[in-house]
């Protein structure tokens, strides 16, 4: 593992993506540039349609950019790089016809690699899912499904985790629990994480930096450094300074948005 301490793990250079819609070209991403340091946790925040998911999918190599490039460890991302990138999707995205264990082994199966039993056992214990190997997703709660999905993403031990609103569908309590779990795993594994969300307090709670994006065209509006000490606790989210930061970021989102926020 090449240690790029302080150097960019992920480098986004002038990322632009245009879709052909019936009404003409749509600018999903317009000249977005960003650097993510190794071991950093960056949240990309913005309202629906700001291109944050489009950007994340481009970073994972799932789709190509119209212009610009994305570098991972200095080499351009042109397709999925499963050894280096673990992707988490909206909802748990488990395969309903596989039991929990088979779901977690899915990445190994695709790559035709031997299953890392010890690591999976360790992760299952870590997230409190031991003993549920043979349960099917429909038998598990939303939080348990999401924890299984985290284990699946971490099992192949990728250096980078790209997370696309993974906790969006969970209730507020379960979401807090998941955020704490994510922070704990992150502090233990020193992964580089890019986390997409539209929830301001979630973004602040998790991130070293919050990157605010605004829609039409999807572009980077502002970057906030989050100075909150670690380890973070849920209590911190009730502090006046935290609330102030939420307001400040909310203004940043609104000022770049033509329509009032919350008009969806």
């Amino acid at each position: 593992m090449s240690s790029l301490n302080g150097r960019a793990k992920i480098e986004i250079r002038g990322a632009t993506k245009t879709y052909e819609a019936k009404t003409g070209p749509v600018h999903a991403l317009e000249d977005v540039s960003l650097e993510v340091t190794a071991g950093e946790l960056v949240c990309i925040l913005g309202p629906s349609g700001c291109g944050k998911t489009t950007l994340l999918w481009a970073m994972s190599g799932l789709h190509a950019l119209t212009r610009g490039e994305i570098l991972l460890d200095g080499s351009p991302v042109t397709g999925p790089r499963p050894a280096e990138i673990g992707m988490m999707f909206q909802d748990a995205n488990l395969l309903p016809w596989r039991n929990l264990r088979k779901n977690i082994e899915f990445p190994f199966e695709i790559k035709k690699r031997p299953v890392d039993e010890a690591r999976i056992e360790m992760l299952l214990r870590e997230v409190g899912l031991e003993g549920f190997d043979s349960s099917y997703p429909r038998e598990l709660s939303g939080g348990m499904q999401q924890r299984a999905s985290i284990v699946r993403a971490l099992a192949p031990d990728p250096g980078v985790m790209l997370m696309d609103e993974p906790f969006g569908a969970l209730d507020a309590f379960t979401r807090d629990e998941m955020n704490l779990l994510l922070l704990r795993l992150w502090s233990e594994t020193s992964k580089t994480i890019v986390f997409v969300t539209h929830n301001i307090s979630e973004a602040i709670f998790l991130a070293d930096r919050v990157v605010v994006m605004t829609p039409r065209p999807g572009r980077l509006a502002q970057i906030f450094e989050i100075a909150l000490p670690r380890p973070r606790t849920v209590d911190m989210t009730f502090a006046p300074s935290f609330i102030e930061l939420i307001q400040e970021i909310k203004h940043a989102v609104e000022s770049g948005t033509q329509q009032p926020v919350g008009a969806e």
């Binding site: 349609g49 999918w57 789709h63 999925p80 499963p82 969806e264």
Partner: protein, 290 residues
């Protein structure tokens, strides 16, 4: 609602594969397989009691009214006729029908399944082919048996009927399996691709399992249509190789209604076996979808 263009919504960005459509289409026969079956001992007991009631009730009425067998045979007479000289009157014909059914169904369903997997790869191909599948589905293939016998496949072999069974069951499998393959879950495909899955791996590990419940429905409906076609085909083509359908015509022309009833019982048992085979296959392989 926001006026965010569809392409910009955050749910799932569209990439090359393009549109996803979730409509179940005209070929959704899933209702056929979702009949709620008896579960508890009380329910099963009641089902059995009704069967006994009908059997003996019918017997009693027919005895009391002294109805002649050519109008309606007594249930006990039908059962007696069934055991009487079984192989000669029914067994060898059952064997003929089974051969026609299994060979025809194997050919038809395999072609239907492969075609479904192929045409659903491209929405254009699927849309163009769809009307022709509907035409195939609504065509009564057993009506083709006499035509097939004189034109395509000469002689008195089973092959005209096998062809009709294949033509009847194939489109049923095709239309249902297409519905299944159309249910592409972009997030699950993206998941597989993010782990570096090849197109074939995506098919085998995501698209096929996702389609499997509908494929099983297609096989069940196709098998039942195939059996009906095999028996109907035997009825419409006076032939020397026999078959259960042939025996139906034969016994009814001789007004041997007990034997006729016995043949019907065998066909009933065949149809029920098909239903239960696919019911249990569905329970085993597609129970994740309730």
């Amino acid at each position: 609602m926001s006026e965010v263009p569809h392409e910009l919504r955050d749910e799932i960005p569209s990439f090359d594969e393009g549109s996803t459509h979730h409509d179940q289409g005209a070929g959704d026969w899933s209702g056929l397989t979702s009949v709620r079956g008896a579960k508890s001992t009380l329910e099963i007991g009641t089902v059995v009691a009704i069967a006994f009631g009908v059997f003996f009730g019918l017997e009693a009425i027919l005895r009391l009214t002294d109805t002649p067998a050519y109008i309606f045979p007594k249930p006990t007479a039908v059962v007696r006729a069934l055991t009487d000289d079984f192989w000669l009157q029914y067994g060898q014909h059952l064997w003929v029908t089974l051969q026609e059914f299994f060979i025809g169904f194997a050919i038809g369903s395999t072609i239907g399944l492969i075609l479904a997997a192929v045409i659903t790869q491209k929405p254009f191909v699927e849309k163009v082919v769809a009307p022709y599948i509907i035409i195939l589905v609504v065509t009564p293939m057993l009506a083709l048996v006499p035509f097939l016998r004189v034109s395509l496949i000469q002689g008195v072999s089973m092959w005209p009927i096998i062809a009709a069974v294949a033509l009847a069951s194939g489109p049923m499998v095709l239309i249902n399996a297409s519905t299944g393959f159309r249910r592409t879950d972009l997030a699950k495909i993206a998941l597989a691709r993010s782990y570096g899955a090849t197109t074939f791996q995506v098919f085998r590990k995501v698209r096929f399992p996702l389609a499997l419940p509908m494929i099983i429905v297609g096989y069940m409906v196709g098998a039942i249509f195939g059996l009906l076609t095999a028996i109907g085909g035997e009825m419409v083509s006076a032939s020397e190789q026999g078959g259960l359908g042939h025996q139906l015509i034969y016994f009814s022309s001789l007004i041997r209604m007990e034997n006729f009833g016995a043949v019907l019982l065998i066909i009933e048992a065949l149809g029920l076996s098909i239903y239960f085979v696919f019911y249990f296959i569905g329970k085993r392989w597609a129970s994740w979808e309730t």
